[in-house]
Structures are given as structure tokens and as C-alpha cells.
């Protein structure tokens, strides 16, 4: 097993000016499960394929352990791409299905048997080794396919949207299985997805990319609590964070008719180019319902209430009758705001609820650069239902 290092690695397709992947610097620790995530066209798959050897590395280098693999052929990189579509051969035993590819690589027979048995043990397939695939359940067949990659004992596993052709339910099951299996194997794994929920639930760390540029890398918690910029803030989290651009007066942001106190460190970090504006973000669960006359209370007109049993979300609008709100743009849609509320106390459509951003749960970003200005947020989830 080994670490993986992207050292200012770029991929520039012939005939294009903007790199598909731009000077990617990323260190993946030995045994780590790293998820590359971002919207389509962000360069996540290209980054993975550069490591796999499918895409050329036009600038910079990629290392696997202490070996520079930049110019090494794919099959000599000691990396296994786990495909979404492994064939299982119906007339061959489970053991042969798992081991035959090693025979092509001229691995010795006893060694093959030993590796297949070791993989079967990890996959709970030992008792099925001499059976045919038809004797297995769907889940077991998937594990046999994983076994084909495992017996190769690569330094790194690569997976590119392996769950994309599954239905929603099976996707949830399978992602848990893959994550659990990776922890048992301890093999360094790089996993690509466009789905931030998949990223949050599976990865030890997540790397968010946009337009070929790495935005932030960190643990799921880091990404959620301290998104480095407005893009990451809007991308990670479901439902999405409420984000808007507001004018700042005397250290307060004008949100609708409410004046919201901003964290002092954020206000002091404002620069001239921000022109007295900030981008303020707050998660749906960072809001408390308060009395209408409370300081900093934001009124929200309820459009829809989404009840999920354990939670309920209000989708509403900030009324626009006062200045300062014309710039408002929320990730959820134009001037729409999402609030998590107590599912036992649900307002009706058309009602107005007043909410206040909980102390220390603001995400403040520069209006000019989009970079984070405030410190990390520690969401106190239990507080939501107090109001």
C-alpha cells in the first residue's frame, strides 16, 4: 500500500487553453479513502484518470508511494480501477471468476489460490468459492466482482462513479458496503462522485474541485463546518446552505428588514474591494425561531413545508419591502430560504416565521473574492428544537 501525491499536476487537452485539471496539489495518505467531488466538468474524473494513466500528465507529476509514475504505463502503475461493470462468468466457479485475471499476469497457481482465499475471507465468500455465480445473491455477486480487483493486491484502488447505474436504494446499500470494505482492506482508495452526500458519507477526506481547480480538501466535518469559499459552502450540505450577499452597516448585515450582527473577526477582515458587502451563509439548522421583535430576527414567508418525520424544513422567502435585499441570491433559488424547524410545530403556508441565526453559526465570506472570513462553525444540532 502507498500514498498518492499529485504534484502540481495539470492536464491540458490539445487545442484548449484552459487546463482540464490545473496544477493539482494533493496528498493522499497511505490507506486513506479520498473522494474527489464536484459538479460535472470540474475535472474530478480527469484527475482520477491521470492517476490511472488514462490521461497524460502535461505538467507536474504524480507519485505513488516513492515512485514517480508520471510516464509509467497504466498496467505498471500497480493501481486497480474498479469498474462499475465487471462481468461474472456464469459457468466458472467463484474462485475462478476472482482469480483468472491473475493467471494472465502469470502469477503462480498456489499464489493465486492463496490470494483468492484471502480475498474471499474478507468478502465473506469462503464457503462459496467452489460454487457458480448463480448460487449467489445479488449482493454476493457484487462482492465477487470486487474480489477480482482485490486479488490483484494493488497499491491503490480507483473508482469512478461506481454507483451511477444503481437505483437509489441499492446505491445507499452499496456505498456503505464499499466504505466498510475499504476500511477492512486498508488500501488507499480514490473515489470520484458528483454526489456530495456520497462524498460526505464515504470519504475519510473530500477534495472539492471546480473548473479544474482544487477548492478545498478536508474531512467531511471540515467541509461542512468551515467551507473555504462560497462555492464549497453552497456545494456541500443537503439541503443547501442559505447564502446571500448583503450590505454591511456598523458591523451588521442588512438581511431583509433585519440587522444581523456579524462576527467581529469577519468584519475586521473586510477589505476595500468588498465595498461594504459580505456574503453571509447559514445552514438551515443554524436558525432558531424567535419572537418577531427580537434583535436580528429575519422574517420568512412560508411557501412550502417539507415534513420528513424526524425533521421539517420550511422553504420560504424573505419579504423584499426594505432595502438591502435586492442582492440576495440563495443557493436554494432566488431569495428562497430554507429553515429546519421542529416537526411538531409546523407553520402553515403563507404564515410568517421569524428566525435568528444562532450565535457563532454564521459563515461569512468576502463579497469580492468569495473566500472565507469567519472562523469555523460548530453546529449544535440539538439546539434546533429548543425554540
Amino acid at each position: 500500500m502507498a500514498s498518492v501525491t499529485y504534484d502540481k499536476a495539470s492536464r491540458i487537452y490539445p487545442g484548449t487553453e484552459r487546463p482540464a485539471v490545473d496544477s493539482l496539489d494533493l496528498e493522499i495518505a497511505d490507506g486513506e479513502f479520498l473522494v474527489l467531488v464536484g459538479p460535472s466538468g470540474c475535472g474530478k474524473s480527469t484527475s482520477l484518470r491521470m492517476l490511472a494513466g488514462l490521461e497524460d500528465i502535461d505538467q507536474g507529476a504524480i507519485w505513488v508511494g516513492d515512485r514517480d509514475v508520471t510516464h509509467v504505463q497504466p498496467k505498471d502503475r500497480d493501481i486497480a480501477m474498479v469498474f462499475q461493470s465487471y462481468a461474472l462468468y456464469p459457468h466458472m466457479t467463484v474462485a475462478d471468476n476472482m482469480g483468472f485475471a491473475l493467471k494472465i499476469a502469470k502469477v503462480d497457481k498456489a499464489e493465486i489460490r492463496q490470494r483468492v482465499e484471502a480475498a474471499a475471507k474478507i468478502l465473506d465468500l469462503t464457503e462459496y468459492l467452489d460454487r457458480k455465480p448463480k448460487a449467489l445473491s445479488g449482493g454476493q455477486r457484487q462482492r465477487v466482482a470486487m474480489g477480482r480487483a482485490i486479488v490483484r493486491q494493488p497499491q491503490v484502488f480507483l473508482m469512478d462513479e461506481p454507483l451511477s447505474n444503481l437505483d437509489a436504494k441499492l446505491r445507499v446499500q452499496t456505498r456503505t458496503q464499499i466504505a466498510a470494505l475499504q476500511r477492512r482492506l486498508g488500501t488507499t482508495t480514490v473515489y470520484v462522485t458528483h454526489d456530495q452526500v456520497e462524498a460526505l458519507t464515504m470519504g475519510d477526506r473530500i477534495a472539492v474541485l471546480k473548473d479544474g481547480v482544487l477548492q478545498q480538501v478536508g474531512s467531511p466535518r471540515d467541509m461542512y463546518d468551515a467551507p473555504a469559499n462560497v462555492f464549497v459552502a453552497g456545494f456541500i450540505g443537503s439541503p443547501a446552505m442559505n447564502i446571500g450577499t448583503y450590505q454591511v452597516f456598523d458591523g451588521q448585515a442588512q438581511v431583509g428588514r433585519a440587522k444581523v450582527d456579524l462576527a467581529r473577526e469577519a468584519v475586521s477582515a473586510l477589505k476595500a474591494e468588498d465595498k461594504n458587502h459580505v456574503v453571509l451563509g447559514f445552514r438551515p439548522e443554524s436558525l432558531d425561531r424567535v419572537a418577531p421583535n427580537t434583535d436580528g430576527a429575519i422574517p420568512i414567508e412560508v411557501d412550502v413545508v417539507e415534513e420528513l418525520g424526524s425533521d421539517a424544513f420550511v422553504y420560504g422567502e424573505v419579504p423584499n419591502e426594505f432595502g438591502g435585499a435586492e442582492d440576495v441570491h440563495f443557493a436554494a433559488g432566488d431569495s428562497q430560504m430554507i429553515v429546519r424547524i421542529d416537526p411538531r410545530d409546523v407553520p402553515g403556508k403563507g404564515d410568517t416565521v421569524w428566525v435568528k441565526i444562532r450565535e457563532g453559526e454564521q459563515h461569512v465570506f468576502s463579497a469580492a473574492t468569495g473566500e472565507r472570513l469567519s472562523s469555523e462553525v460548530h453546529t449544535d444540532a440539538s439546539a434546533t428544537h429548543k425554540a
Binding site: 488514462l54 497524460d56 498496467k75 462481468a87 456464469p90 466458472m92 447505474n165
Partner: protein, 487 residues
Amino acid sequence: MPLHITGAADPALIELPWDVPLEAWPEEHIAALPRGLSRHVVRFVRHGDGVIAVKETNAEIAHREFTMLRELQRMEAPCVHPVAVVSGRTSASGEPLSAALITEHLAYSLPYRALFSQGLRRATLKRLVGALSVLLVRLHLLGFYWGDVSLSNALFRRDASEFSAYLVDAETGDMHARLTDGQRETDLDIATTNITGELLDLQASEDLDESVDPFDIGARLEKRYRELWSALTETSTHTSNIRMRIAERVRQLNDLGFDLDEIDMEETEDGTAVTIRPKVVDAGFHQRRLMRLTGLDVQENQARRLLNDLDEYRAWRDQPDQDEAHAAHEWLTTMFEPTVRAVPRGLRGKLEPAQVYHEVLDHRWYLAEAADHDVPLPVATASYVKNILPTKDDEQAVLGRSIAEMTAELPALTEEHGTEYAARDPYANDNTYAWGRVPEPDESEPPTVRRSSTRIPVRNAPVVPGRDRERATADAPPSPPSEPTAE
């Protein structure tokens, strides 16, 4: 979401039972054709005068594959032609159903498993692998990375004494301006692994003789691919006689069935030599020449065979001043067309016309060998139509069999299997792909199907008195004199 069909302007498509899962489509719609292994539900469906292939998959993948196949078709790649994508399907009770990709059924095409069920000879296996390596090279030249190269994901058509391979599954593929070496190497690696696995599986089911070494065949694909790739793309350096060198290179490419459209010539830095690199090569050299001369649209090796016959015809006519186009027209009307027309209507679905002509030429060779003198084409044709063609499988489209039979795996029905066979367990048949949704095995016994017809194994050699006595003792008939292959 309402039912949505994007693609061909064919209003009749909407009349198909899209509110029923494909697995349960009524038998009247289903055409029984040899199917390959697929990770999805695939059915051949009668539609209008023809047959279409319908594959269930998710909407995103279906649209992607449709676009990809369109692009490949535009570039004249050998692939199945996409017809439409059907999305927004719901059952009568409102349950959402998978989207479907519709492609045309490629007439006279066979999945490799159908070829194995006809008692495959080792040479045929090598030809299949050869065809697949040509397909891979052609796709790579176009910038297509396949991602899942296998015998299952291709269809094969007889092409004179060779096979031509066509891409059927583009789901895992990607189109690039130019492939990197890494992409080509990965495709080759995947191909080797998949083919070896497929052959090992055929051996495990006793459809392939033990004496064939799957690892050997897998390695063969790689070797053939590399030979062809370097012949088509390699840079060569020459110090003298450049004109001749280029002509030589062009001829070499033509022999491989490729045309040289553009070439890069560059003087070396010191000015003492010139490097030549083919820049744009196009497959189908013989195909295009025959098309130009006769209007016949056939496959590459068939074209080569027909052109050879045409050349022979011209030589034999001994009219050196007659131009090529004129001779071609004469050949077409006096040789080719009468031969093809001699096939009775009832036997026309057996083989493509060009393939029939090729086989008649082979047959004539056998007859001439036995008779020890030349046999005229009409005689050979009559003998072929009487003795050989009726024993062939219908390969245009094998319609009208029962649904149980068609949903079962292609049976390897030969004399020793008799006329009764138990449909194999459907779970043993699907090439179970790991991440696809797989139904749990069913406990009940698979149905037993009675077949009234038994496939008759193909015999190339006709029955000729005086020769067959020796033939009976010999294992394999001698190969007919076909065109030199690139083996």
C-alpha cells in the same frame, strides 16, 4: 414525467408497449434472434418491416450511449445504429420503468456465442479475435476509448472467409480528439482479460474444446492489435528513393484494407533523411473501390474477394484496352447478379448476397479440384444452391421461435444434444455484471422446451463423389482458397 421518445422520426415507435417491463413484453412483439450476454435486459423486437434491439438502462446512460453511437455512426465507425431513447416510462399502475435505448438490428450479424454453438473451429476463433482487433484499431484511430472491450460487446458478420466485428455496447466509452497511449493500453488490457474470461467460461460450459488455450487467444488479440496499429501509424525514416518508399507504404496500407488520406513528411534535422508518418488513414479501401466500380455496398473482405474475381474476369476476357468501369459493369451483370439471383427466395435469408457469391467461388474451387478441370460459374452456383445453401442456418434474422427458446441462452444444439433440451437456468445465462441489479435466484425448475428443428452444423465442403471417401477419414476439410489473410 410523461413518456418521451427522442431520436428517429418514426411515429410507430410510440405504439410499442412501453408501459410493460421489457422482460414481460408480449410474444407477438419479440423476435427470436441470437442474443449475446448483456448486463441489461435486451430484447429484439419486431417493428415495421424490420427488427430493432431494445435495451433497458437508466435514462442518463441511455442518452449518453445514444449520443455516442450517433457520433460513431457519423464517423462511419463499424457500430450498430442508434434509433431512439425512450424515457419517462411508467407501468399501468404508475410505477416508473427503466429508460430504453433502441438500436437497429444489424442484419446477418451474430453474437459470438451463436458462432460457438455451430461447432466452432479453432481457425474461426482466431478470425473472431482478428476481427475484434481490427475493430479496436479502427475505433482507436477515431479517438474512441471503449472501456469494455469484449466478444460479448461486439457483433460479428461473415465477411468472405473472415469476420467483421461491430461495436454494440458503447455505454462505457468516451470520445476524444486523440487517444493517449494509456487509454489504448488500458483498452487492450481490458480486452485481453475479457476475452480470456469469455473463453474460459465457454470451456467451463463445454462449448469450447479443451485443447484451445484461452490465454493464448487473449494474447493473440494484443499481438494482432499491435501489428496493425504500428503498420498504420508508425513513422519510418528513409534516406533515398522517397517516392518509392511512400508508394510502398501506401500499398502496404491498402493490403491491410486501409486508405491513406493524409501523410506527414518531414526532413530530419540534419537534412539527410525524410520521415514518413501516415496521418489520416481510413478503413474500407476495397469496400470503397468496389462501391465506386459497381455500386455494391459490401464488407471489406467480401469486397476484396469480389474485386479479385473482377480482376480475374478482366484478365480472362483479355481485352486490355477496356476500361475498368466498363469491365466492372459487365462482370456485375453477367457474373455477380445472375449468381445471386439463382438463390431461390426461400433461401435468401441464409446469407448476404456478397457472402453467397464468395461461397459459390469457394464451392467452385472444390468442384474443380474434384473434377480436375474448370467448372463454369452457373454449374457451381446450381450445385451450391442445391447442396450447400439449404444446410446453412438462417442468419438474416431468425424469426418466429417460441419466447421460452429465445429467452434461454443460445443452445449449442448439435447432433449429440438431440432435439430436446432443457432451457438453461436464466440466471446462469445473464452475464451478471457486478453493479447491476441482479434478481435473486429462483428456486423453481427451469422449463423444458421441445424443439422440432435441430441446427445442422455448417459444412463448407460439398459432397463430391470420388473425393468423399477420403474425406470421411480426414478430420477437417482442407480450407478453400480464400484471400491471404493478415494472420
